[in-house]
């Protein structure tokens, strides 16, 4: 059973502001869902390797050139609601 402290910790890691009601509700739902995952303990995985991806591809390379036919950096910057300054997005001060 996930504690309130654990829920708050997860929410902070995930950068999610939750109300007290949400913490309680999600806490109960998450506990149930994670409890279901215990079924995987049945499987003997001692000699098994992890699968991260199923393509078998590795180190797929490409030329380091910009493809501007679809869109430009400035068009992409224009998507932001925050102020743009010298082709950069201005955000709140992080290091005080």
């Amino acid at each position: 059973m996930l504690t309130e402290e654990e829920i708050s910790h997860i929410a902070h890691l995930a950068r999610l502001a939750l109300t007290a009601e949400e913490k309680t509700r999600f806490g109960a739902q998450l506990s149930r869902i994670l409890g279901y995952m215990d079924i995987l303990k049945e499987v003997d995985v001692e000699k098994v390797q992890e699968t991260s991806q199923v393509t078998g591809l590795a180190n797929v390379m490409d030329e380091d050139i910009m493809h501007l036919s679809q869109t430009t950096p400035d068009e992409l910057l224009a998507q932001s609601e925050l102020p743009i300054d010298s082709h950069q997005i201005r955000v709140m001060r992080i290091i005080k």
């Binding site: 999610l16 739902q29 303990k41 992890e50 699968t51 068009e75 998507q79 609601e81 709140m92």
Partner: protein, 479 residues
């Protein structure tokens, strides 16, 4: 008008070629059908009438000049709102990017547009593709055209319903753990989940990057083969697409099934599967047997672990992919004042994401966090390998597998939405093929006693789409 929008792609293409009607006529037919039916179905979140007519007229002009055109030129399609469409609002059905207008097309959309495809609108989906019912959209529920009190399935419910109700000729969706196949089955249309890496995902918002696939919905096997041939292939913008040639899927249609070995995995017909569903799917396999195929029972013992594997690894990947939605580069920012950037992010995301998204992000964050990574994420990745090995073993004995897609036909709206775990189990039969990156072709197989569509899936080894089309085409001929 209504008759025009009920045609297949191939029939419409022939009609365009013969000048029986124009691309503009086809676009108008779909727009009229949308006007007539979508008020009650809710398949579309945005209808681009102006854009569609403009694209249609452009195709008519190209044809008038004598240009040789693709069969898809002038054919209207619906696009799941997960795909970027240049200049047309793309929301992933989430509040957090509700007003986002992408400056570029998803690659498959761009490719289709170049050929003259007419994008008629964006279809409804579960937010960020997270769901099996299209009940988790910020725009409301998409209803099943066969019974408006029931779901269309998800997450690509809008695309499935739009095709089923003749509001477009085909549609694009994504399948990560069943999101094309399940709504296709529930709405009685064809849905193809390709081999992972067969179709470029560039410009499609990522959900779970090692599971996501892009695929079409159509009303016939021939239409599906045509669309799949067109959108498949290597892309420099999607590094998970290998440089493997795309065979001609159209050329395998109509072939005999004599001697083909078909496996029915017993775990897909047992406990938890509605009897009618199992009966309908077995009946389809029997038809193939009468036509000369060898049908035998096989076993995939790891099937019961698929939901747990998926609901650990997928949220983990999702949590990473959705980290970019923080109100900085795109999307809505928090409406309240924030004291610092961390609060800015937390508030933006707290306000913008729906409940199911928050749940999944939290599961993903938890299973990747220090102290839990080995027990959950690493273990799930290992069990994924076991699932893959089960399929490898079985495909040494048989050429394809046939199985139900969903344990049950369309459920009532609201029935599962308050029980997340019960909703997750809806994808129990779809997930394993996704775990192994295998192609799976969802085909209509029959109806329930209530008249609801029941679908089956034809699963083949990686890059074995031809086998899926071979069998799907045979089943279509026999129905």
């Amino acid at each position: 008008m209504a008759e025009l929008s009920a045609l297949s792609i191939v029939e419409a293409a022939k009609g365009l070629s013969a000048r029986d009607f124009s691309a503009e006529d086809l676009a108008n037919a779909c727009i009229a059908e949308i006007g007539r039916r979508d008020g009650e179905i809710g398949a579309y979140v945005y209808v681009d009438e102006e854009g569609a007519l403009s694209a249609a007229r452009a195709v008519d002009q190209r044809r008038a000049k004598g240009e040789e055109l693709s069969m898809l030129a002038g054919i209207p399609l619906g696009v799941k709102d997960l795909f970027n469409t240049r200049g047309v609002r793309t929301t992933c059905c989430s509040e957090i990017i509700r007003d986002f207008v992408p400056p570029y097309d998803a690659e498959v959309v761009g490719r289709l547009r170049e050929l003259g495809a007419v994008c008629v609108g964006k279809t409804n989906m579960d937010e960020f593709a997270c769901g099996a019912s299209t009940e988790h959209s910020c725009f409301g529920v998409t209803k099943n055209p066969y019974d408006l009190s029931r779901v269309a399935g998800g997450s690509s419910g809008g695309s499935a319903a739009a095709v089923a109700a003749n509001m477009c000729f085909y549609a694009l969706g994504t399948d990560t753990g069943g999101s094309i196949r399940q709504p296709a089955s529930l709405c009685g249309v064809y849905g193809f989940k390709p081999t992972y890496g067969r179709v470029s995902r560039s410009g499609v918002t990522a959900m779970a990057s090692s599971w996501d696939t892009v695929g079409p919905f159509t009303r016939s096997v021939e239409d599906m083969a045509l669309v799949m041939e067109t959108i498949s292939g290597h892309s420099r913008f999607d590094q998970t697409t290998p440089e493997k040639a795309v065979p001609s899927y159209l050329s395998v249609l109509g072939k005999e099934v004599k001697g083909l070995k078909i496996g029915l995995p017993k775990e897909y017909f047992g406990e938890g599967i509605e009897e009618e569903t199992a009966t309908v799917v077995r009946a389809a396999a029997e038809k193939l047997e009468k036509a000369g195929a060898e049908v035998r029972e096989v076993s995939l013992p790891s099937t019961k672990y698929a939901v747990a594997v998926y609901y650990i690894t997928m949220p983990a990947e999702l949590s990473a992919n959705l980290a970019r939605f923080d109100g900085v580069r795109f999307g809505s920012k928090t409406s309240a004042e924030a004291e610092n950037m961390v609060d800015f992010y937390a508030q933006t995301r707290g306000e913008g994401f729906g409940d199911e998204i928050k749940r999944r992000i939290m599961i993903g964050t938890y299973v990747l966090s220090a102290g839990y990574y080995d027990a959950y994420y690493k273990r799930a990745q290992k069990v994924r390998t076991v699932i893959i090995q089960d399929f490898e073993r079985v495909f040494a004995e048989v050429d394809v597998l046939i199985a139900p897609v969903s344990p049950f036909p369309a459920f009532k709206i609201g029935e599962l939405v308050d029980d997340p775990l019960a909703m997750y189990m809806a994808d129990a039969l779809a997930i394993p093929a996704s775990a192994a990156g295998l192609p799976a072709f969802a085909c209509p197989a029959g109806r329930s006693s209530l008249g609801l569509p029941i679908g089956l899936q034809i699963i083949a080894p990686q890059f074995g789409e031809e086998r899926c089309f071979h069998v799907g085409s045979a089943l279509e001929r026999m129905s």
